[in-house]
């Protein structure tokens, strides 16, 4: 998974498809529908205004036609009042004035109905009276005008105040004749105008209803189109989200965006949880998630690195190489809830927007397999080198000794396997521990012989095996799970021995019995020089066969070489001093190991290994026993020096520093003793402080060749 180092933007779904739609194309239908909605609304509004205006005019007309009815009656009343006042000789001025006012108003209003004119309204303010347009109305107005014209003429002298009694009588007669008819005509006019107004109001209602209905339909259409469009957009978004989710769920890498405050973005691939051992949530801080997994320094380096990446002036390509999380080891819980070590790789890529670092795209990978493979390749390379070197050494070695070693080693390792197998039938921890001690002795003997033949690879592998066994042995309570690793170690050794078995070894080179014994024991002593060099010591060796010893059956027994190796290694590790110590003690810098084989008169073979080292030191052994806690101090005080020295063959006892390949296991003398006892012999030791020690083995007259050891 790679992200361009150059400014990048997250591609929108449309960007990868056909050319994007314009705004008009995308929203055309909705725009048309909304425009229609506005047009309908405006149309209805305008019609509404117009009709309302007309209704207002109608209201004025209806109102004034009603006033005409009232004026016709007031006119008659004023005329009759005037007639009565004249008859009574009273002042007729007010009545005439009232009559004039009413006649004038009636006349103007009636003409207004006919032609349209501005007339005083109900409140006295001028209003425009629209001419009656309706045919029925016009007919009524025409009829009223026809009747009003002579009536108006008859009233003229009265209004001018010069009417004779007869003229007044004519006017009164007119009033009496026309009053009712005029009232009816004005009534008719009012009715006609009311009908018109009602019709117009009905029309307005209809227009409004239709307008609202159209607007409603249009709104529903807009809503439908809008919702459809929204649903399509949602479906597209959902599809994008679903694809996004599928990608994030299935991608093996851990992917997420990191904000400048180191919090995680909302899109996090599922693998992140698997890789970190816990599922993070959007908004979690990356340093908090990594805190439990990393060392404090690594975490600080990671934080500094991320801050660098968020700084725009730092070139991304230049800092990639200093990414502290490119390969980091973490401990997490696996799918079974069990702690496991793994290697993770984090890579950070900038996500830029207008030259500003908005996020870091973080990619996590589990590179455990890759790292393991690299380590395996390195290990294999080292092992191959070592194996090659071992093979070269083996080919240069004494082929007879090598052949004997290979044959014995396989037997020893199969015995180890039998002992491991027998653990299943052992009940107590003590029994198991005892069996493991036997395994340890076998492995230790194997290691010694491999080292004697300079088979370093085998010696190292055996040493590692010993380490595992030692750790097991040191545990207070043996846990069955810790046994699981043992067959793996054993198998490794068996595989290597199988390789050595395939090396063609010339059986004829060393089959002369005397030569075999000589070579085997000389080879055993060769270890001395080698182990001494490893320990910073110098040593010379001497091999002495006294009369008849070389022909003794035991002298030709390869197992004798194994015993000598153990004794020699023990003498070099514990007896021989360093050159400086020897010089200080007035001795030559190089120590001397003398191996002497002598045939006793009884037929037994006696083997002495003498060193001129520091000798057994009871005080050091006593202190070591105290450190090991094997005896309470008071009991140690009661033991004689001889009894104290008797402890050195016990399993687990060693005065050397632990962990070295040549000593420190506390097994060497124990293994020798066990082997000597198995062969039916005896082991003894003699020592003189400052002058050296001699370890002696006495073996019976006959060589007891019984290679098959049965596990106890």
């Amino acid at each position: 998974m790679t992200v361009p180092a150059h400014p990048s933007h997250v591609a929108s779904p449309a960007a990868s498809g056909p050319a994007p739609h314009s705004f008009w194309q995308r929203y055309r239908v909705i725009i048309v529908a909304v425009t229609l909605f506005i047009v309908i609304d405006l149309g209805v509004l305008m019609l509404n205004f117009y009709t309302s205006f007309k209704i207002a005019e109608d209201a004025v007309s209806v109102n004034l036609s009603g006033r005409q009815r009232m004026l016709s009656q007031r006119m008659t009343k004023a005329l009759l009042t005037l007639e009565l006042e004249r008859r009574d000789g009273r002042d007729t001025g007010p009545a005439r004035e009232e009559l004039r006012s009413v006649v004038d108003l009636f006349d103007r209003t009636l003409h207004g109905f006919n032609t349209g004119a501005t007339v005083p309204g109900g409140d006295g303010n001028p209003v425009y009276l629209t001419a009656v347009a309706d045919d029925g109305g016009r007919k009524v107005v025409a009829d009223a005008l026809a009747r009003w014209a002579p009536y108006r003429l008859a009233l003229a002298p009265v209004l001018e105040g010069r009417a004779s009694p007869s003229q007044l009588g004519i006017a009164v007669a007119y009033a009496r004749n026309e009053n009712l008819r005029m009232l009816e005509l004005m009534n008719d006019l009012t009715s006609v105008l009311e009908v018109n107004a009602t019709r117009r109001a009905d029309f307005l209602r209809m227009v409004q209803s239709v307008g609202i209905l159209l607007a409603l339909l249009n709104f529903i259409y807009i809503l439908y189109k809008f919702l459809s469009s929204l649903r399509r957009a949602d479906q597209a978004t959902e599809a994008v989200n679903e694809e996004n989710r599928e990608i994030l769920d299935s991608v093996r890498e851990g992917l997420f965006l990191l904000h400048p405050d180191f919090t995680l973005g909302t899109q996090i691939s599922r693998s992140v949880g698997t890789l970190l051992g816990r599922a993070p949530r959007p908004g979690d801080r990356l340093p908090d998630l990594l805190g439990p997994l990393l060392f404090e320094k690594d975490l600080k380096d990671a934080r500094d690195y991320m801050e660098l990446l968020f700084s725009p002036h730092v070139l991304e390509n230049l800092v990639h190489s200093i990414n502290p999380l490119s390969c980091v080891e973490v401990k997490t819980l696996n799918a079974l809830g069990k702690e496991e070590r793994k290697f993770l790789s984090f890579s950070f890529n900038r996500v830029l927007d207008d030259g500003r670092v908005r996020h870091l795209l973080v990619t996590m990978q589990d590179i455990t397999a890759r790292v393991a493979l690299e380590q395996q390749i390195d290990a294999e390379r080292g092992r191959a080198r070592q194996e090659f070197s071992s093979l070269v050494q083996a080919l240069g070695a004494d082929t007879g000794a090598l052949r004997h070693f290979v044959a014995r080693a396989e037997t020893q390792l199969l015995q180890v396997n039998s002992l491991l197998r027998s653990l299943s039938e052992q009940a107590g921890t003590a029994e198991v521990r005892k069996t493991l001690e036997k395994v340890f002795r076998l492995v230790h003997t194997f290691k010694g012989e491999a080292a004697a033949l300079h088979l370093d690879l085998l010696a190292d592998m055996a040493h590692n095996f010993e380490d595992e066994l030692q750790q097991l042995h040191n545990k207070d309570r043996l846990n069955g799970d810790s046994l699981i690793q043992l067959p793996l170690q054993l198998e490794g050794l068996l595989e290597k021995i199988a390789v050595f078995k395939q090396i063609p070894l010339n059986p004829g080179t060393s089959d002369d019995p005397a030569q075999t014994a000589d070579h085997a024991l000389a080879r055993a002593l060769q270890l001395a020089s080698r182990a001494a060099a490893d320990l910073g010591k110098q040593v010379h060796t001497r091999l002495v066969f006294e009369d008849g010893a070389l022909e003794h059956p035991w002298a030709q027994d390869p197992e004798l070489g194994s015993l000598v190796i153990q004794l020699a290694r023990n003498a070099i590790a514990h007896g021989i001093e360093t050159p400086a110590e020897r010089s200080a003690a007035g001795k030559p810098e190089a120590g001397l190991l003398t191996l002497t084989l002598a045939r006793r008169a009884s037929g037994e073979l006696e083997i002495h290994l003498r060193d001129d080292g520091r000798g057994l030191q009871p005080a050091a052994v006593r202190q070591r026993l105290l450190d090991l806690g094997w005896y309470p101090p008071a009991e140690l005080d009661r033991l004689s020096d001889l009894q104290i020295l008797g402890q050195i063959t016990k399993p687990g006892f060693s005065t050397a520093e632990p962990g070295g390949i040549h000593a420190g296991r506390g097994v060497g003398l124990d293994a020798v003793l066990q082997e000597v006892v198995r062969l039916g012999g005896r082991l003894w030791a003699r020592s003189s402080p400052g002058r050296g020690s001699t370890f002696g083995i006495v073996l019976p007259g006959e060589s007891r060749r019984e290679p098959a050891r049965t596990p106890a």
């Binding site: 696996n334 799918a335 079974l336 069990k338 496991e340 396997n417 491991l420 197998r421 027998s422 653990l423 299943s424 052992q426 846990n479 069955g480 799970d481 046994l483 699981i484 690793q485 043992l486 067959p487 793996l488 054993l490 198998e491 490794g492 068996l494 595989e495």
Partner: protein, 151 residues
């Protein structure tokens, strides 16, 4: 021959341990681990799963009749017929295979468990000497034989 790691072996052991612990609340105790050959005689009831992919070979889970009977009783199972006992040991082998898939990944091809009746010597398939891990549960001995190689 690609050697397996201790973690690989531990995985198979853990699977059996978890199964038995979940069933009986008592974890089995590992009693030994060694290299097996035909002289190692398995128990009466055996479940075998074969692997292909990242690993090849097979794993054998072998249990005695008494142990399986006890297991079934603990699971409130009344049918203690041979078929059911074989099913039980097959289920343990299947659980083990499932755990292997969880850890080794979905690329691992695992067969359905083969169930076999009869105590026989262990037959090596891919390793010269397969790993044998013995354990004890409720006094009953049982074993897991891992005969796998990493590809």
């Amino acid at each position: 021959m690609a050697t397996l790691t201790e973690d690989d072996l531990q995985l198979f052991v853990d699977a059996v341990k978890h199964y038995l612990k979940a069933t009986s609340k008592q974890e089995p105790e590992i009693t030994s681990a060694f290299l097996g050959d035909s002289s190692v005689i398995a128990h009466e009831f055996n479940g075998i799963v074969s692997f292909m992919g990242g690993y090849s070979g097979q794993i054998l889970v072998s249990m005695p009749e008494g142990m399986l009977r006890e297991l079934l009783v603990l699971q409130h199972e009344h049918d203690l017929s041979e078929t059911n006992l074989l099913d039980a040991v097959g289920e343990v082998a299947n659980t083990l295979a499932g755990n292997a898939r969880k850890v080794f990944g979905p690329d691992l091809e695992i067969s359905v468990p083969t169930r076999l009746r009869g105590a026989q010597g262990i037959t090596a398939r891919v390793r010269p000497r397969p790993y044998v891990i013995t354990f004890r549960w409720h006094r009953h001995p049982a074993l897991v034989c891992v005969d796998l190689e990493r590809r």
